[in-house]
Symmetry: C3
Subunit: 137 residues, 3 copies
């Protein structure tokens, strides 16, 4: 069994956001055993798994990514869409465009401290689309 859902998120402000419940509420029922694959259809936002409890982790990750991939590096040539654009592309590939999460007993088989993060790297982004592909039986 394999099926796909199109999930709409946000718009969110620039930053790292916990989206576990946004995703699950739009996925429908999950198989007994399987995998949930999430793919973001954009190149200036990313998706990852990290700590789900303390908002300071998202805060610090956001600020660290801004430090790691600065806006005004002299090497950028792709600057037409604003100073946040090229860093957003790089951050998207560092964080990744997709995650796969195991499913067991009709639920995500994540650790108790894990959640799904959206990295929104543009200053003024619109809604984001995530494709959920559910495989299992």
């Amino acid at each position: 069994m394999i099926h796909q859902k199109t999930i709409s998120l946000g718009p969110f402000p620039r930053g790292i956001h916990l989206i576990t419940e946004h995703i699950l509420s739009q996925c429908g029922s999950l198989p007994y055993t399987g995998l949930l694959h999430l793919f973001i259809r954009h190149t200036s936002a990313g998706i990852t798994i990290n700590e789900n409890a303390d908002p300071s982790v998202r805060h610090d990750m956001h600020h660290f990514f801004n430090e790691l991939v600065p806006e005004h590096w002299s090497g950028y040539t792709h600057t037409m869409e604003g100073p946040d654009d090229m860093p957003a592309h790089i951050k998207a590939s560092l964080l990744g465009s997709s995650v796969s999460i195991p499913i067991a007993h009709h639920r995500l088989n994540m650790g108790v401290w894990q959640g799904i993060y959206l990295g929104e790297f543009r200053n003024k982004a619109g809604k984001r689309t995530v494709i959920a592909t559910i495989t299992g039986e």
Copy 2:
């Protein structure tokens, strides 16, 4: 239904390359709904999803990765294969060795601005092999 193809790429010069058409032309027909998993069988090249239109994004990402993971950092001990080798291993793990892309209506269900990138991190690489695993129905 699950099947696998072995895809040969390049050789490409050191840099970031758009390989969407190279991949699709060697994948054969795609299922109605599914996932395309691409895995590069090398540890000094990576694969990611990013912007497919403007070559300056690939140019800047290449140069930024060179800045982020410099060749002559004093901490390297694995230097026998040349100054580009250890940075290539690190870049490969930062970018990732594989991507999974949703398939819908027998086509990749990516965003209109998304393409598949090969990160070639060695100065003088040979051909690269990618394993495409197609799951779907």
Copy 3:
């Protein structure tokens, strides 16, 4: 066919560790064609694919990650669990929480120089749990 195994690893000291054999010995038999998905149920450790032969690659990657994500950056606010904690979360998302590896002829279809790495980013971690999800036929 899809099934799941829960794999226990370590405890390992902080560093990058080759775990290919630990994983395979706990996975059981693999299908003729398929995918092995590995997901680590923690947010301060990561999993990636890289060079399997020379331990100096793991050594250098470990030290480079410590350089890239320093412990005493002034921007951190999530510091309650020690100076290694917030860097561990960031490193986990840079390296990634999961990998998918193609299976062919009942074996991992990796390159001859590829192995599975665990990135243990905490100073004093306990055992780590990895969920292996095997899809194939």
